[in-house]
Symmetry: C2
Subunit: 480 residues, 2 copies
Amino acid sequence: MDSINNLLNLDTINQQIREMEYAVRGPIPIRATQLAQELKSGVQKPFEEVIRANIGDCHAMDQKPITFFRQVLSGVLSPDKYLSNSEIPEDVKQRISLLLTELGGKSVGAYSDASGVEIIRRHVAEYIEERDGIASDWQSIVLTTGASEGAKAMLSFMNSGSSDGIPTGVMVPIPQYPLYSATICELSMHLIPYYLDEDNEWALSIDELQRSLNESKANCKPKAIVVINPGNPTGSVLTRNNIEDIIKFAKQNNLLIIADEVYQHNIWKSGAKFYSFKKVMHELNVKLELVSMMSASKGFMGECGLRGGYLEICNFDPQVKAVFFKMLSARLCSSILGQIAMDCVVKPPVKGSPSYDIFIKEKQEILDSLQKRAKLVADTFNSIPGIVSNPVAGAMYAFPKIELPEKLIKMAEEKQQKPDFFYAMTLLERTGICVVPGSGFGQIPGTYHFRTTILPQTDKMEKMMNKFKEFHLKFLDEFN
Amino acid sequence: MDSINNLLNLDTINQQIREMEYAVRGPIPIRATQLAQELKSGVQKPFEEVIRANIGDCHAMDQKPITFFRQVLSGVLSPDKYLSNSEIPEDVKQRISLLLTELGGKSVGAYSDASGVEIIRRHVAEYIEERDGIASDWQSIVLTTGASEGAKAMLSFMNSGSSDGIPTGVMVPIPQYPLYSATICELSMHLIPYYLDEDNEWALSIDELQRSLNESKANCKPKAIVVINPGNPTGSVLTRNNIEDIIKFAKQNNLLIIADEVYQHNIWKSGAKFYSFKKVMHELNVKLELVSMMSASKGFMGECGLRGGYLEICNFDPQVKAVFFKMLSARLCSSILGQIAMDCVVKPPVKGSPSYDIFIKEKQEILDSLQKRAKLVADTFNSIPGIVSNPVAGAMYAFPKIELPEKLIKMAEEKQQKPDFFYAMTLLERTGICVVPGSGFGQIPGTYHFRTTILPQTDKMEKMMNKFKEFHLKFLDEFN
């Protein structure tokens, strides 16, 4: 047999990709998968199951799908069966028929336009209009493969580094969802980190934004600011005032706003409210280029596996928008079923229709339960000495701060591990609980955190929190 | 109202994206959409319908879905309904149950691993083993959003231009499927064009490969060769001998092979056969890094809208493979329903199972009909003076050469259009037939072509070919 002289080795592949990190699926979740397999094959462990609190994957944590969504999705795949079935509610049948009429060959097997199926884009625009009370142009809506694809496409689109000779800078919150750092790294762009204010429920401080921007200017051409609201990994919800200040800052500094608003349905804290950047911008009479992302993966539906999402593009130059659409055309289109999942999100059953009551019941039960878990998680962490958590005001995460003893930090360094990585890995090995260390999202140097989801169902969540508390006290005791 | 000072204009966006072209969805298809809308709103045209022969979109051209596929897909979305329904065949129920067991929370709404659902990756490996008679490792299979995502990810992965200081070169056939040129442009890589031999049914000439490679070396570091077999846009099928020569060439020149094999089920010419690069490489006792792409969008199923595909990676360094998987993790996973469509492709009903007969009947009818249309298209073109077509040996396309009168070429130049673009646009405006000019795929300078699919159903195809012939004779007459 011929021997192989590998053309691709660690030094000859794309070095940006070699460097990039994505902790939500990094070494700790990979180890969690191994542990689950070992348990399955009968290996004894100090725990009976692996609890995956590392990723916002609702259905994997036994959240049930919304009946209306699944009926519509099943139905567009097998319309003959569904449309003639007397058990299927009329509004489901109507939606199936409406959608099929708008698809090539009346089939979900046909491609759509690169930007998505027209009627679904129109429904998205109507949803935004109703949410914000201001106009939305359906021709500025792009249906994407989850929200991730939209964010990635937009970052690539604005990346003029190779012709400018200076990297394109993007302001990114720290802590952040690592999609941003991974994509910016892959695209050889420049990440401009700004720290969120942990003492102020993770709000954005304008002084900090200005400091961060000023310091970046020697290294890049700043072009955009990413804001994640409700916050991932922070579980925060921005106040209207804070959003106003951010918009004014972006306007003064000529920055495009990338608003990651995928958790807009996930608001838990009493008094907190979701305001879209678009709405606040409009009410401030400011005009700025703005991109907003939404997803079918979060909210109350949690249909992550269907990969539905959208992007709304505001105030773009029409010629520039045309080039963006051209760029998208090379990947043909996003999944039609993902698009249809998005359609169900933005156009759920209306009051009086046959599916309405069950839809509202299912939706409310999920949201109520998540709200309870949000409180349970923050309260439990705050009851543990050495752990401090902000309220989980929104999204699906807590991001508590942990105080780690000097001895522990030293031992981690000896193992060439980050201290919070060492903490999270030990937590996993001893309890089966999988969380992501703060270093995977970024944090102020010398501080340590972890991110946990609030997604395990209530009984499992209670068990998990008890085990967590027990672990933490015992583990830290070993170093004190 | 605040005025806008656009940050993004044509000069400040990514210039690579500004430059890139994707003709399959370029100006002519965009005009086709406008014409269809005008017809719909009652505007008089010299034709009654727009025939979209520009894109390999089977269902949009009224190809019917395969029942087994749709039952499985509907069923995984609504398992309660399907598993208790006595009308659903047992093998469908078994597949639904098997797949659900392997999904997070037994739901298609959960994310899978970045590389896909394990059981589906195993099924893909079994399919490849059966196809080639040699081993396939399921851990080298990645489930992707159509084949396009896999190709794009792999090109980005091997792009070391920014650290090398020299662009990474990729050999690409001319004519080619413009996904490759678009991606190479977007990633600032270097396209090394090699011409296919039209006089030899679009085979690859090793002399031409060598010429092309030699000439490129001043401008780039050549790293890979893309081969599309069966050919898009050429409708060719490579002989085994030709594949052997290509593999030897790649070995001698230290090139990774990217084998776009998405049309492996679409073989029409008597005596032609699909040989995978993997199989031929194995039988030659050659070891080379190889990537093979497959899709749920083509073949007999044509489920383009579901966005299912896979990538098989052979002979990669394990560390390098791990980095590739890490890269994929930032986009979470491809659509679970797209993955399940791929599962149905690689593991269709087996002989003796309740769904077998109807599956075989549906599959065979589609393939037989496509085979007839392949012949009809090539024969009709060859009956038209000034048009010469190779046999449509495979895939879903004809790529005939047209002889254009000097006067026509001159008039096109006056309009600042490429002559074949002018030809195809006039065809569209006069007949409603939408094809893509050869310049969108590349061709030897001074020659002119267009690509048409063979996808309109037989009666429409016959009508289309008659109209085409009539148009061509009349149009060319105007210039003679």
